[in-house]
């Protein structure tokens, strides 16, 4: 029943949840391990079972390039939805900040399963849209806050 808590699998029958999870493989990461680098081909989508994944982007600070965390993903959340969205390249770097376990689902196996089980594919697609939409709205609001401050600064 706990498996139904994965945000990507919400609304699915328990049997469907188990079948989708059976398509994947579990990966254990230690703190500091990289799940995927920025720009890599995104062939796998990951569901966080437990632990924490840090999503970072490179930023130049004092002539030194460093990874700055822009988002955190914890248990039941989804990482790497670029695997299902063209052009299938990761736009962030993902690393585990603590001991973490994820379920890796390949794009190929998911697409094949959704072809034979379109009702599951539909619900997963809606859940995926919610994940992407939440990211979009969040960063849209953050961007607008930054622009407002820039305008205020320039006008002062």
């Amino acid at each position: 029943m706990a498996n139904a808590q994965y945000e990507l699998l919400r609304g699915l029958e328990e049997a469907d949840v188990d079948r989708v999870l059976a398509l994947g493989s579990r990966i254990s990461l230690s703190g500091g391990d990289e799940l995927f680098p920025l720009g890599a081909h995104a062939d796998y989508l990951y569901l966080v079972s437990h632990g924490q994944i840090s999503l970072t982007l490179p930023m130049k600070v004092r002539e030194q390039e460093t990874d700055v965390q822009v988002e955190e993903r914890t248990a039941w959340q989804t990482v790497g939805w670029s695997a299902l969205i063209p052009p299938h390249r990761f736009t962030l770097r993902a690393t585990a900040t603590v001991g973490t376990e994820v379920v890796a689902l390949s794009r190929d196996s998911l697409e094949k399963y959704f072809t034979t089980h379109p009702e599951v594919g539909y619900k997963v697609s809606l859940n995926l849209a919610a994940v992407i939409g939440q990211r979009l709205q969040l960063f849209q609001a953050m961007w607008l806050r930054e622009v407002a401050r820039m305008v205020e600064h320039r006008a002062a």
Partner: protein
């Protein structure tokens, strides 16, 4: 000969009067007040391409170690995300532009 000498004397006298008149015409009528040289202002340091990042503190602007700067940056992002999430939970203009306690903004 006497006539010649008299002509020369008159010419020299006339020349003297003309020079005096010219000098009086071009000389300023009042002497200008003495002006003290203005002190040269120190040139402000260039601020566009500073090599050291600074953050405001209660006692002024000071450089901080890069580790501390990155920690502040991470905190800033977390606070901005929390503020943005508050806006998404209840979209109002006040929440969209709510202030945070980020050291980068205070």
């Amino acid at each position: 000969m006497e006539m010649l000498l008299m002509g020369i004397c008159i010419s020299v006298f006339g020349m003297g009067i003309a020079c005096a008149a010219f000098g009086a015409a071009v000389r300023p009528t009042q002497s200008l007040p003495e002006r003290k040289p203005e002190p040269v202002k120190a040139v402000a340091p260039e601020r566009f391409f500073v090599s050291e990042v600074t953050v405001p503190t209660s006692v002024g602007r000071v450089s901080i170690p890069i580790e501390a700067l990155l920690a502040q940056l991470e905190r800033h992002v977390r606070l901005e995300q929390a503020a943005a999430e508050s806006f998404l939970a209840e979209p109002t203009s006040a929440l969209l532009h709510s202030k945070t306690i980020s050291p980068f903004l205070n």
